[in-house]
């Protein structure tokens, strides 16, 4: 199975983590992050979330992030599954999982990948609320999260250009 998967359907977290470890005896730590659809935004109830992406670029961008994470943290493996289409509150959106010899590299690699994905992978969320549909705004806090890793990020800047 490819290690970057964009799909409409759900995923089985337990099965994916077991496959990532793959029976290896040199893996000491598997860390994972599962993102879910929240039913409540600060102002309104969220009835559904629709996710759009840029086929082709998404896979390339996330693959490049994994290569970067592997070299930074000495990961032994990584997996990113991101769902697209219409999702309901409580449903899983994304799984990021990494394998490493030790926990610190695993925790850090997982968080780095998630911070990178939030600001540089071409996905867009649209929320359906009782008042209608609206595109979700990018958050400066997500850029700041990536900047902690020493990478420039201006995704949420008003007019600023994105950088790699």
């Amino acid at each position: 199975m490819p290690r970057v998967r964009i799909q409409e359907g759900d995923f089985d977290v337990g099965a994916e983590l077991a496959a990532l470890q793959g029976g290896r005896t040199d893996v000491g730590a598997v860390a994972s992050f599962v993102g879910c659809v929240r039913g409540h935004a600060p102002a309104d109830d969220i009835r559904a979330l629709t996710l759009e992406h840029y086929p082709g670029m998404t896979e390339r961008a996330v693959e490049a992030m994994i290569v970067e994470a592997e070299s930074r943290f000495g990961l032994q493996g990584a997996l990113v599954i991101h769902r697209v289409g219409r999702l309901l509150p409580g449903e899983r959106i994304v799984l990021v999982a990494v394998a490493a010899p030790h926990r610190r590299a695993a925790f850090q690699g997982c968080e780095f990948l998630m911070d990178y994905l939030k600001t540089h992978a071409p996905f867009w969320k649209k929320e359906a609320t009782p008042q209608g549909e609206r595109w979700v705004d990018a958050r400066v806090a997500d850029d700041q999260a990536l900047q902690r890793w020493g990478l420039a990020s201006t995704n949420a800047a008003p007019g600023g250009a994105a950088d790699g």
Partner: protein, 85 residues
């Protein structure tokens, strides 16, 4: 020059998905020059691609700065800031 143009998310809703484009640049063919030329195509384009509006650009499926020169046959995508994860 021949380009493939793509729009995503709110820009796709405003301008359509894009498609094949024949563009004769007046000057240096950069992503910024293309964006400026597109603004002149319709009031909807002028609004969606207005200067100062948060629009990101990818050339051949990689995020780039708008000053990036475009080559013949490039795939150029315009979209709002990303919000995945």
């Amino acid at each position: 020059m021949k380009l493939t143009l793509k729009y995503f998310a709110s820009l796709r809703e405003a301008l359509g998905a894009g498609g094949a484009l024949e563009w004769t640049p007046a000057d240096e063919p950069t992503a910024a020059a293309l964006r400026a030329w597109l603004r002149a195509q319709s009031p909807a384009h002028a609004l969606a691609l207005a200067p100062g509006r948060a629009v990101r650009v990818a050339v051949d499926q990689a995020l780039v700065d708008e000053s990036t020169p475009l080559r013949e046959g490039a795939e150029v995508a315009f979209f709002p800031p990303v919000t995945g994860g």
